[in-house]
Symmetry: C2
Subunit: 521 residues, 2 copies
């Protein structure tokens, strides 16, 4: 039966007629029109189908950026399969975890760079039935031969886009001890991309750099709006500054995510102005870079991979808003709620919950986690803290995960830390909970101050008390020369060890105690 919802594959089929003179893809020496891309996508899809791929089959990508990932993605749109891109910067053990967890029917892999890692990973994930296709291999198991042998025939009856099926799966941070594959539906991805056509002012003249890791959702929000608008995608294998500098200058690229360290390096490499980068629009403010590029919009706002990125869209917050501030995209519903699910008042901190076609699938293979995060009436609990201000904008406050329970009240570390950090004498702050017989936990701060400024515990307590609720004010404040960090952020576990933290809500559940039991340690 014909499904009325648009799909990326149907759009590709249209684009070969709408933009016949346009370059769809530039990738090394490969330059493809939409017609040539359509041909290749059909070859991939027909080959995949011959290998047994059907609706809801799982396909894994283990490689750097290349036009092949767009081809396989569009073939998955045609077949209704789920496409997951694994973080190739990970160790063999981490890749083995994803292999076991996602259990893909097919793995497309970049043999040249990753053969040793994959070899190790396969030992740690034995017994999988995946079929492996080498992206760079020249043999019969190689991508090139796969396409050459397959029929280029297209179809007028591709899979019907469905909010109940994942097109894209991206593994996110290892909270709870393991990474989790966030499942994104085709309608959700399509609508969020359509909104970002508007944000980026994408047209068929747009030429987008795809150099950032495509195992992150933001790269897809660079790519897909340009694809929808009939523009050109220019792939760079990774974030090599020299390669990107050459590409922007020679291909006259107009946008794409460039991280600040890369931008800084490009500015240094191009200090002599040998490349004209004025075509490239960037939101970054970096000495050198800003002068040689043009000002342009970037991805901003708040959200998470699980809801197709920043669905609280920065562009809707108006001029001059902070980067993590926005308003909901038109296809989503958003609320900031307390633990009972009731909306909190303007200016109050609560959990951001999201509903709409961008949410609802949860994580692959995590029924218990999904039951916790997705309510019966469709709300996805982001576990992010946010605040809705009087003008209706929503701002990200911090992760909900570091929470202290004191006298029956929830106190979120991020909220108290953010207040402390606005004190002129404070450079950094962390909140932990220390066990207490009467209160369950006491709110405890570890504060780093400026060397030349003195501040007392009482002064800081009064500072916090005058700004947020009294029960959130730290009862204990330690001063420390610096905070311990892990790979991503403050290392709260190290702080707990050093300053006697513990007794967090939920800890007793992990140990099998009754939910809601009074915490006594």
């Amino acid at each position: 039966m014909y499904s009325a919802f648009p799909s990326f594959y149907r759009l590709l089929n249209q684009h070969r007629f709408s933009y016949p003179l346009q370059e769809a893809v530039v990738c090394g020496d490969t330059r493809l029109s939409f017609g040539e891309l359509y041909d290749r996508v059909n070859r991939v899809a027909n080959a995949m189908a011959a290998l047994g791929v059907t609706e809801s089959s799982r396909i894994l990508w283990l490689g750097q950026n290349s036009h092949a990932l767009l081809e396989i993605f569009l073939a998955c749109s045609r077949l209704g399969a789920s496409f997951c891109l694994v973080n190739w910067r990970q160790s063999a053990a981490e890749i083995a975890f994803v292999l076991r967890d996602f259990d893909p029917a097919l793995v497309f892999w970049q043999e040249m760079e990753f053969a040793p890692t994959v070899s190790d990973a396969k030992i740690q994930a034995p017994g999988l039935a995946s079929h492996w296709i080498s992206l760079d291999g020249q043999g019969s198991d190689g991508y090139r031969q796969l396409l050459a042998d397959a029929s280029p025939e297209g179809t007028d009856t591709p899979a019907a886009p469905d909010t109940g099926r994942a097109l894209l799966v991206l593994y996110t941070g290892a909270f709870g001890g393991q990474p989790n594959g966030a499942q994104i539906s085709e309608p959700g991805l399509f609508l969020q991309s359509l909104v970002h056509v508007n944000v980026f002012e994408a047209t068929s003249d747009t030429k987008t750099l795809v150099s950032a890791p495509t195992f992150h959702i933001t790269s897809w929000l660079d790519m897909l709006p340009t694809f929808i608008a009939g523009g050109t995608l220019c792939f760079a294998r990774s974030t090599d500054a020299g390669e990107i500098l050459d590409l922007i200058g020679s291909e006259r690229l107009t946008n794409g995510t460039v991280q600040p360290p890369t931008a800084k390096k490009i500015a240094e490499l191009n200090a002599d102005g040998s490349h004209d980068l004025s075509c490239f629009r960037s939101p970054l403010t970096i000495p050198g870079w800003t002068e040689m590029t043009s000002r342009g919009p970037g991805i901003s706002g708040t959200g998470q991979t699980e809801v197709v990125g920043p669905v609280i869209v920065g562009a809707f917050a108006g001029e001059g808003s902070t980067p993590f501030c926005g308003r909901p995209a038109p296809m989503v519903e958003a609320k900031v709620v307390d633990d009972t699910g009731a909306m909190v008042g303007a200016g109050e901190v609560g959990e951001l919950v999201i509903r709409g076609p961008v949410a609802g699938l949860g994580y692959w293979n995590r029924p218990e986690l999904n039951a916790e995060r997705l309510s019966a009436d469709g709300w996805w609990h982001t576990r992010d803290l946010a605040r809705r201000d009087r003008d209706g904008t929503i701002s990200f406050v911090g992760p909900k995960s570091q929470m202290v329970k004191s006298g029956g009240e929830n106190v979120y570390a991020a909220e108290v830390e953010n207040v402390l950090k606005t004190h002129p004498a404070v450079t950094n702050a962390a909140i932990i909970g220390t066990p207490d017989a009467d209160w369950g936990q006491l709110v405890t701060a570890v504060v780093v101050t400026k060397p030349d400024l003195n501040v007392t515990v009482e002064e800081l307590q009064e500072f916090v008390r005058s700004r947020i609720a009294r029960y959130k004010t730290p009862r204990i404040i330690h001063f420390a020369p610096e905070l311990p960090l892990n790979a991503f952020a403050i290392d709260y576990k190290a702080l707990d060890r050093e300053f006697g933290g513990g007794g967090y809500p939920g800890e007793e559940q992990k140990n099998g105690s009754n939910i809601g039991a009074t915490v006594r340690k």
Copy 2:
């Protein structure tokens, strides 16, 4: 069950939190925030439900522009009802036809202006069970009292948007002898509006004039993008130039459809520059008007009410394209096809067919017509002729309805006329078919030439023959001082009477003859 597709009612519910400081509606002395609009929409919806309105109930609007039509539209989104706006410029007989055909459960009507017409119409459409609510009445059957008596309670479970159910019904031209109610689904309307947020660059700062008739789809494509973006809608009852001039100046309106005659009159009224209209962005090029307003995008491209307006979007054709030229919106598929359904080549004329969430419902209460127009695999036949050029853009050529059948070939009047009109000596041209024993019909032209330029029949035939297929060249050419016109366009029936036209394909079917019988007259 929760439906993941966005709806206008859900969006309204969001906007009261996202844009609490914003004016949603300005209409005379009425100024509503999104919160106040939400309250009123729920009162309307609860009152309608109490009157028996449920999913797929039909609601008719018989009135000029006002915030009430937006309220009822949004209440229909909540309830899943179908909202039809009847052309109030029509006669009592024409309105009676729509009453009988649409058979509405409720009629919201503007008593003050239309009481005599409605009184006549009711006589011509007896026995209908519609409940009538007066928009301006102060009594118990009035809109004001209806809202006052109803609960303002909202719902978290509004109707689920469905491509299989009409939210909006707009009656289109009386081809085939009667007007037909084009049915538009909520997902189709939402997606086309989302695309036009982009086209109009609508933001929450947008303030849109709603003065053009809302029984035309273009007014909805003015309104809904602004609504989606959280902007302000400013209603003017009708197209009075003085009222519009005042509104643009005092409310600082930014856009909205203004027809050329109204724009001309506004320019005359504001010749002294007493109103500053520089805030208003308009695509019109009209002396006086263009100087006092700013340049801005308008609705352009090609399409028809039946597919939610110009889904072949003018903005996607690039700079400098003609007004009826565009490329498909991302949620639609478009083809230019011959009578077998096969795509014609670049530059060839054929019928424009459309597929996607904007098409597929056809006309209300016209199963036979829908069976003709909507193919089993979802393609809507627009009965419009179009041409896809080598750059992929699609241009409107003319209606398919005026077709001559000569020697078994279809010759579309619009195509031949367009060629003739490019001849320097020709100011206007019409093609009719004249019956012929051998050929079925002969292609016959009626041509108006410039008084000071001479051209022969042979010269014109050679001119056409060198540009399009030989069988399309007029065998007979008449010169006439002018062409007869009806309310909309060339009056082909008058031409047939004057120049002996007749024997058109399909005429025999109307008379009950066999389909495909050779035409002999």
